[in-house]
């Protein structure tokens, strides 16, 4: 049965970006909005400017690319967040993937796919796919069962397998024949196709998985079907990758070799990394926020520059299971007291170069799905000046029993894991104190990274402000993880049955206009009722040297290793 709506158009040839983002195939797509070439629609300044601007030349084969990357967590993508597995695309493949510039879902291991009904997806594999020639796979052909094996592994009922939610709609997986995989869904779900393109959905060799027994520490345990073979790796030093001579896409990759260099341990030393880029020791680096405007002004002729959206979102959460944070008046007051303009123009500009308003999303999603900044400005929470919002907040606090003479004392939690997050917490504290006219009296507690994860996960906070990675760019990856009852990032345990129903409903809307409206309705509803608030998400300025062609562009969180096969060096 052929369905109406976008899935009937999802025949594996790709969709236009606008349709993709508003349609079934848009769901869960790991699109980072990098758009070096610009992608139309509501993107913020993603047009490329600068040195190259020329039409593409014929790709040249050969050369070595040098970048910064430190593989610290081993090579098992199924137990890692999507933001930690982007570069695994160099050596692992996925069934389908998202194009970083057009946003279309495109073939990878699957050459094409069909949608017989709203609950069925049928994929036909590309020919000549072989595992890399490393034991125990030893170059054997990929089988459909290998893909099923990986997907079932992702679904393992073990807390370490943190990506199982991306396959939560899948009911059955069948190898129809040697080259055809069929997925049957439990119910219509517009997001499922795109979820298969999330970075963590890599296909692993079953023999390697069995031999590894859960530990993938070294290059020997890293056997994929990707364009590059991980030849050597050393934590805190770097890695060497070479062209996969048996790669199933003819003519690819263009590069002979990729050298990845580690800067720092634990957390990357951004200063050293940036200095190395300026000195030409590495071939690409995103521009630090504090240098972005100056760099954009001075270096336009030397680099291809572009602002790209990110998928990090900065929000506040109230611990609704602790009094008085279950009080809707207090929750709304906290939302109203945040000055988003100050966050955008001071904090985001200082640390990243640019930000925008969003009540929920990272900028890459916001640019496509969200209200515009002008529309946000009509709502009290975002309206400038803040007088009216602060006035209502003070009234709400007073009604809840908190005044200057009897303030609410609490601890505002944040993380000291990096400078921008600790400063974000301090700015929020200042805004709360100023806007509440003394009705809020808080101290700050900044947790180091390892403690922060536990603190949030266990709900050991009263109110916090912090950054999160969405894992994907479809709105549902934000909704279901953070705002739906029981969501993995719903640390404050908010629960709104009406909101849950709205979130569930938008997953079933295959008409792109209907879905966009539904998403907007959720955003507006949440501005009035959600216990969680927001700061401001950021953009990243990317700087690509002219010699680097087809570089997908990336910030610190989203890295398009699976598209490095298209990179070539203009020598």
């Amino acid at each position: 049965m052929k369905d109406e709506g976008v899935w009937s158009r999802a025949s594996g040839r790709g969709l236009s970006r606008r349709r993709l983002l508003g349609s079934a195939a848009a769901g869960g797509a790991t699109i980072a909005g990098l758009a070096l070439a610009g992608c139309g629609g509501k993107t913020a300044g993603t047009a490329k400017s600068g040195a190259s601007g020329a039409a593409s030349k014929t790709p040249q084969r050969g050369g070595t690319l040098t970048l910064s990357e430190n593989f610290q967590r081993g090579f098992d993508p199924h137990i890692l967040q999507a933001t930690d597995t982007g570069m695994f695309g160099l050596f692992y493949s996925m069934l389908i993937r998202a194009n970083p510039t057009t946003y279309e879902i495109e073939p990878d291991l699957a050459a094409k796919w069909e949608v017989p009904s709203q609950t069925e997806l049928v994929f036909t594999l590309a020919p000549n796919i072989k595992w890399q020639d490393k034991a125990p796979a030893s170059g054997r052909p990929l089988k459909v069962d290998d893909i099923i094996s990986s997907y079932k592994r992702i679904q393992t009922n073990d807390p370490k397998f943190i990506n199982k939610a991306y396959l939560s709609s899948v009911d059955k997986m069948e190898a129809v024949n040697d080259t055809t995989l069929k997925l049957t869904l439990k119910s219509p779900d517009v997001t499922q196709l795109g979820n298969l393109a999330v970075f963590s959905m890599k296909i692993l060799n079953p023999e390697v998985v069995e031999k590894a027994a859960g530990k993938f520490p070294a290059a020997e345990s890293c056997v994929g079907t990707g364009a590059f073979v991980l030849q050597a790796t050393e934590q805190n030093v770097g890695s060497t990758l070479v062209r996969n001579p048996a790669y199933f896409k003819p003519g690819l990759p263009y590069l002979d070799q990729i050298n990845l260099k580690a800067f720092g341990a634990g957390t990357t030393d951004f200063e050293a990394e940036w200095a190395a880029f300026i000195a030409g020791q590495i071939d690409y680096r995103w521009v630090p926020g504090q240098d972005s405007q100056k760099f954009e002004a001075e270096k336009k002729g030397q680099y291809d520059l572009g602002w790209t959206g990110d998928q990090i979102y900065f929000i506040t959460q109230a611990q609704t299971q602790k009094k008085p944070w279950d009080d809707p008046r207090l929750q709304r007051a906290m939302r109203l007291l945040i000055d988003h303009k100050e966050f955008r123009d001071q904090w985001a500009t200082t640390w990243f170069g640019r930000g925008r308003y969003s009540a929920i999303f990272g900028t890459a999603t916001a640019d496509v799905w969200d209200l515009s900044e002008d529309e946000y400005g009509k709502y009290l929470e975002f309206k400038q000046p803040k007088d009216d919002a602060n006035k209502e907040a003070v009234q709400l606090l007073s009604a809840a029993g908190y005044t200057k003479d009897k303030p609410l004392k609490f601890t505002l939690a944040g993380t000291s894991g990096n400078g921008y997050q600790s400063e974000m917490t301090q700015l929020a504290q200042a805004q709360y104190k100023k806007g509440s006219q003394g009705a809020l009296d808080m101290d700050i507690k900044l947790f180091p990274t390892a403690e922060w994860a536990t603190t949030r996960a266990q709900g050991n906070f009263e109110y916090y402000i912090g950054g999160h990675s969405s894992g994907g760019l479809d709105p549902d990856t934000y909704f279901s993880s953070t705002y739906k009852t029981g969501g993995g990032r719903n640390y404050g345990h908010m629960s709104d049955p009406k909101l849950d129903a709205m979130i569930d409903k938008q997953r079933t809307l295959f008409d792109e206009n209907e879905r966009k409206k539904a998403v907007r309705d959720i955003i507006i509803y949440m501005m009035d009722t959600c216990p969680f608030g927001s700061a401001v998400p950021n953009y990243i300025l990317t700087a690509t040297p002219p010699k680097l062609r087809n570089f997908p562009g990336q910030g610190p969180t989203f890295k398009w290793g699976d598209h490095y096969e298209n990179i070539w060096l203009n020598r």
Binding site: K160, K215, P217, V237, A265, E271, A275, T455, A457
Partner: protein, 314 residues
């Protein structure tokens, strides 16, 4: 002397056990744990956290885990990293020699610069060059390594588009490249140590110059280089040697900042990363190695007194 050595080894062993047990226990007082690292942004229930801890053996009592760890050590098994599964022994084997090398180069530089500097400053006491030398020493002593290291990388990049080599190569793969990589961080690390050596050498030489036997030597007509090298330095350098021995430990364990800035895959960055991720086996293993190093070096320093001064008895 034999009895002395045996006695020192026994006390060293007891100290080793106490230190490692203390660190092992303190690890569990650290807020946060490996579960947060493994789960990332993903929330988890207490039951899920308990399941992970059980799989990792972290739900056993501390004393039990310590005994199991010591038992495994007796078979040469340092355990595996909780973060990426790498054997801890391999992690230490690859990172420790890097730190040793860095510390050794820094030690040579700090001694070669600091000691002559201190001697000259003492000889020229209260002259303008003595004041200048002391000022340089104070500046070197006061300048934090993290600042100096960052400046050395960032400002040349901005001004001249140049950075020191930032890509580590193993000495066995490329000795010249390795030395080229290590020299700048070693200089940064040596700056503070050289200043300390210079100040200590100066004060010791000044003190020795006032000794009666030195006055006697001068009265006999011995002056200049001969006086300094044959009569002064031999006594003045004894405390300096003691400090040099201690410097090695300081340079190794304190090099974490320099290692991080210059992306050196040594024991410091390994330990820092392990602490950030609460990778307990790696922390315990590195702690053991550092403890062995500290205790062993102090024993060796004590024994070296005999060589420096034959009058010393045990």
């Amino acid at each position: 002397m034999g009895a002395y050595i045996v006695n020192r080894l026994w006390t060293g062993l007891i100290t080793l056990f106490l230190v490692t047990f203390l660190v092992f226990g303190l690890l569990n007082l650290l807020p946060g744990d490996i579960v947060g690292t493994l789960m990332g942004d993903q929330g988890y229930t207490q039951a899920e956290a308990n399941k992970i801890r059980h799989e990792l053996g972290l739900d056993k009592p501390i004393a039990t885990r310590y005994v199991l760890w010591v038992g495994a050590l007796s078979h040469g098994d340092f355990g595996q990293s909780l973060v990426n599964g790498r054997p801890v022994s391999k992690i230490i084997r690859t990172s420790f020699p890097v730190s040793i090398e860095l510390a050794f180069i820094a030690l040579i530089i700090s001694s070669a610069v600091g000691i002559p500097f201190g001697v000259y400053s003492a000889i020229r006491q209260d002259a303008w060059d003595d004041y200048a030398a002391r000022l340089v020493s104070i500046v070197g002593y006061s300048t934090p390594a993290f600042w100096l290291g960052t400046v050395v990388i960032v400002f040349p990049a901005i001004w001249w588009g140049w950075v020191p080599p930032l890509f580590f190569v193993h000495i066995e793969d490329d000795p010249i490249g390795n030395l080229g990589f290590m020299i700048v961080p070693a200089l940064v690390l040596a700056a503070g140590a050289a200043a300390r050596n210079a100040r200590l050498t100066r004060s010791q030489v000044l003190e020795t110059l006032r000794e009666d036997y030195v006055r006697t030597a001068r009265a006999k007509g011995i002056t200049g280089v001969s006086l300094i090298s044959r009569h002064v330095l031999r006594n003045a350098l004894l405390p300096v040697i003691t400090q040099l021995g201690g410097s090695v430990i300081f340079l190794i364990s304190g090099a974490v900042v320099v290692e991080t800035i210059f992306s050196i895959p040594g024991i410091g960055t390994t330990l820092l990363s392990a602490i950030q991720h609460r990778d307990y086996p790696v922390i315990s293993g590195v702690d053991l190695v550092i403890a062995v190093l500290v205790i062993g070096s102090h024993i060796l320093i004590d024994l070296s007194y005999k060589i420096a001064d034959p009058r010393v008895t045990y």
